[in-house]
């Protein structure tokens, strides 16, 4: 009865509950981002070292340091700086780099695009492969195939990604010489060249994220195999593969989508090491460089973008999982 009551409103307006839920999640996402921005700002504030001494050198006199701090606005109290920063972001202005005074949005945009390119390329390889392997492993549970898929993915996830990267470089760049070991791309690099140069980094990422998604697909499907409707399908004489694809997979989508989203977020955020290894000009590289230079405004901006990606992808996962639930999509 409570369930019925819950969905009753859908009678007059089918999409209404879903829209409401999406708006709620969106609002929640904004709140999360706000909290994250506070965390980012304060933790960057606590970073040891100082941009002024970093730029002016150890020999700078206290007067020049103070003057520099005044010039870039670091002398103001943190709370005031935080709110002017926040107000800027709200208007799409991330401020200027402390190190070279260029606008941050300009610094970041091409880098972000590169990172997203790499992440999408890895995702395009990893997601279909992971779901396929997951379905196969569930279909032939306990078989040699199942075990080898498990061993393989678990092995690759157990190594740190830089190690996987170097192994790939050793095999494909050094020994076979088919792919470049350095992915130096620029804005004018043609598309297929870009793809070619990004093969090794995206392959590394694929190997790193696949295990999670594949194992979740397998577990979610196997979990459903004990349900009465699967038994019903078996007793209807449906073949094993059809049972898994038609009866189990659609109902297992919600958990799978969630793990995929989490891994997508990792692809964007977790590329830092991989970008460094392949000298790939992405956002991760920029972040690492900026931390080294104590360029705190850039660090803050890139961290916030990373956080935003996480929130957005998780939101997307939530909405998609809701859409796969027929109870919500087709109210009584």
């Amino acid at each position: 009865m409570p369930k019925q009551a819950m969905y009753k409103r859908g009678d007059d307006n089918g999409m209404w509950p879903i829209l409401k839920m999406v708006t709620q999640r969106l609002a929640l996402g904004v709140v999360t981002l706000f909290v994250v921005s506070v965390l980012i700002f304060s933790s960057v504030e606590f970073l040891p070292g100082d941009i002024a001494t970093e730029i002016l050198g150890q020999a700078a006199t206290p007067e020049t340091v103070a003057q520099f701090r005044k010039d870039v606005g670091l002398d103001k109290p943190p709370v005031e700086r935080y709110f002017s920063w926040l107000a800027g972001i709200a208007q799409g202005d991330f401020g200027k780099s402390l190190a070279n005074q260029r606008p941050i949005s300009e610094l970041i945009s091409s880098r972000l695009w590169n990172t997203l390119f790499l992440a999408s390329m890895a995702a395009l390889i990893a997601v279909p492969l992971a779901v396929l392997f997951g379905v196969l492993a569930a279909l032939y549970r306990g078989s040699f195939l199942d075990r080898s898929i498990n061993v393989m993915t678990l092995t690759t996830i157990s190594f740190p990604e830089f190690f996987v990267a170097y192994i790939l470089i050793m095999i494909f760049a050094v020994n076979l010489g088919v792919f470049p070991s350095i992915s130096n791309i620029g804005p004018e690099t043609p598309f297929w060249d870009r793809v070619y140069r990004s093969v090794l980094p995206s392959l590394t990422l694929t190997l790193v994220v696949m295990a999670h998604m594949m194992r979740m697909t397998r577990a979610a499907i196997i979990n459903l195999l004990a349900s009465p409707y699967i038994e019903m399908a078996r007793l209807k004489g449906i073949t094993r593969s059809q049972i898994i694809i038609k009866h189990a997979l659609p109902n297992a989508l919600a958990p799978i989508i969630n793990v995929i989203a989490l891994n997508m977020a990792f692809l964007v955020v977790g590329v830092v090491l991989v970008e460094v290894v392949f000298v790939y000009p992405g956002l991760g590289q920029l972040l690492v460089d900026s931390v080294a230079k104590r360029d705190i405004t850039v660090v803050q901006a890139s961290s916030l973008i990373f956080a935003g990606t996480y929130v957005l992808l998780n939101l997307l996962a939530d909405v998609l999982s809701i859409l796969t639930n027929p109870r919500l999509l087709h109210p009584r």
């Binding site: 019903m232 007793l235 209807k236 027929p326």
Partner: protein
């Protein structure tokens, strides 16, 4: 069906099972579930398999399809289906038979339909998969069968998702699905057990008609004798995986040979003496005063519900699922604050929200649930389960607490030394329900809500529970509110009856009065829907109802 196959011998044999033995895995050991059973089924015949849970009915029924559930294996015996030996047939050969020549109808239609697909797609799946029909013909055929099974709106209902259709309709849609390839044999596994009595009738009628119309043979599995009497030509009684008795339905009903069969027949005999109504001057233990309540969103579920429960009385609240029985209980316990009206305990108003009630007020009202399995924490020992309320409400600790737990265990007729250190998983269903009772008693309440406490139990076990509750009522001056949809239970234990329909009380009064006409028409419908042992009962009832139309139409059927 009785007319087509009166002696159960005519017609050629469709299914012949010989010396079937099936093992099940429990605690890493193979235990026998079916210990050598023979079964014959003729074309067009309906065979009833009856027994309590754990008797092996479903396992045997599934074995007729050459199928064993995970954790089960058919170890011995031959299953000859229309000349094909299923016990040695390849998986592929068996798969081709399933759905097309042998079909299955499961107990819970809600769980057995895939929530992600429309009903009609699940219907068409079988004939398309087995290359019997193409999609368009299959869909037309589905609509035709939906019509034959008297589903409302047959041309549209198939395009709904399972959750959009009521339980009774789903069960008929599943019967249609089983019929999709016009199989020679259908295994019905308790198809009406999860339904209300009023809905059950329509499903029974639909199944009986369709099986007769297509001359399909059926194995009908149930624990309800009265139901099997309506459906089967011949009955086999099973117990502990062995055949107890087998006979043509009429003979089985009129002249059961074995003691066990007789005990099944006699089980509904327990009846406690009805107490007189409490005088007007007596304050009721619980008074529900014009309660209107609903959940956060949506309409009100209860409308102006009012009744009293007096000391040492049992008030049975009956009605079908969704009638508001359990919601009433939630209002009394304070889990759901009513929108209007109030709850009084011994003349004193209780706060609407349980969080505002004093510990003593909470202690006075305890609950026992339908599923003891989920109501008991599987990780706690019995001593802790019963000990917790002792500590929480009465502040007992150490030796005193231990002594009291032992006392309570003796009170519910379980040997303290043997049971005090067990986990719920090491008990039978009936024993678990006894532990739930002990836990409720530990608080020393004056009022207990029993929510369908016997419906998950076999009849013999259920009767034991009812007797125990009655004895405790006498000894401890308890009042019960008994939520149930089983009128046999009402007959045996109630003093007063409250009939609910769509959130309203439609009739209430002392039991004897409620079971003698004239009734409110809904009460009448409810009472007449309880299956009786007479094999002609369903036929007569439907004829009667046909004559007396228009009767009242029930929502959701």
């Amino acid at each position: 069906m009785t007319d087509t196959n009166a002696n159960g011998q005519s017609g050629d044999i469709l299914l012949q099972m010989r010396g079937i033995k099936i093992d099940g895995m429990a605690d890493d050991v193979w235990n026998p579930i079916i210990k050598g059973i023979d079964l014959n089924l003729h074309r067009g015949e309906v065979l009833g398999l009856i027994g309590e849970s754990g008797a092996g009915k479903s396992t045997l029924g599934l074995a007729a399809m050459g199928y064993a559930r995970d954790g089960c294996r058919i170890t011995e015996g031959s299953i000859l289906f229309d000349g094909i030996e299923l016990s040695t047939a390849s998986d592929e050969a068996k798969r081709k038979l399933r759905g097309s020549r042998i079909a299955y109808v499961a107990q819970s239609a809600a769980a057995s339909f895939n929530p992600a697909h429309k009903l009609i797609d699940q219907y068409s799946e079988t004939p398309i998969h087995h290359d019997v029909l193409d999609q368009e013909t299959a869909r037309k055929d589905a609509v035709e069968l939906y019509e034959k099974l008297r589903l409302p709106n047959p041309s549209e209902i198939g395009f709904r998702y399972p959750h959009q259709v009521s339980g009774g309709q789903l069960q008929r849609a599943m019967t249609a699905m089983a019929m999709s390839c016009r199989p020679d044999l259908i295994v019905f596994d308790e198809p009406t057990t999860a339904l209300d009595v009023t809905t059950q009738i329509e499903v029974l009628d639909a199944i009986r008609n369709i099986v007769r119309q297509f001359n399909t043979a059926a194995i009908y599995i149930t624990h309800d004798l009265a139901v099997v009497a309506q459906m089967a030509d011949r009955i086999m009684v099973l117990r502990y995986g062995e055949l107890v008795e087998e006979a043509v339905t009429e003979d089985m009903l009129s002249d059961p040979k074995e003691d066990y069969t007789k005990s099944l027949w006699a089980v509904r005999s327990f009846q406690k003496p009805q107490k007189p109504l409490a005088g007007p001057e007596e304050t009721s233990v619980i008074r529900i005063e014009n309660v209107t309540a609903g959940y956060t969103s949506g309409d009100m579920v209860l409308h102006n519900v009012a009744f009293d429960i007096h000391r040492k009385r049992t008030v049975a609240v009956v009605g079908e699922s969704g009638s508001g029985k359990s919601t009433t209980a939630r209002c009394i316990t304070g889990l759901l604050a009513p929108k209007e009206g109030r709850i009084l305990s011994n003349g004193e108003e209780l706060p609407a929200d349980y969080r505002q009630r004093s510990k003593d007020q909470l202690r006075q009202c305890q609950m026992i649930y339908q599923m003891a399995d989920t109501a008991l924490n599987p990780r706690q020992r019995i001593r802790d389960i019963i000990g917790r309320p002792l500590e929480f409400y009465l502040g007992l600790t150490g030796a005193k607490k231990r002594e009291r737990v032992r006392e309570l265990l003796s009170q519910i007729e379980l040997e303290p030394d043997e049971y005090i250190d067990r986990f719920p998983g090491e008990l039978s269903g009936g024993q678990k329900q006894r532990i739930s009772i002990a836990r409720a008693l530990a608080a020393e309440p004056e009022f207990i809500i029993c929510d369908e406490v016997t419906s998950a139990l076999d009849q013999i076990v259920a009767e034991g529970i009812l007797k125990l509750l009655f004895r405790l009522q006498e000894e401890l001056n308890l009042s019960y509110m008994f939520i149930t949809h089983d009128l046999a239970t009402v007959r045996s234990i109630a003093d007063e009856v409250v009939v609910m329909l769509q959130g309203r009380v439609v009739e209430q009064g002392p039991k004897d009065q409620m079971f003698t006409p004239p009734h409110h028409e809904y009460t009448d419908l409810l009472l007449s829907s309880v299956p009786e042992m007479d094999p002609e009962w369903l036929t007569k009832l439907l004829e009667d109802r046909e004559k007396n139309k228009p009767g009242i139409e029930l929502a959701g059927n």
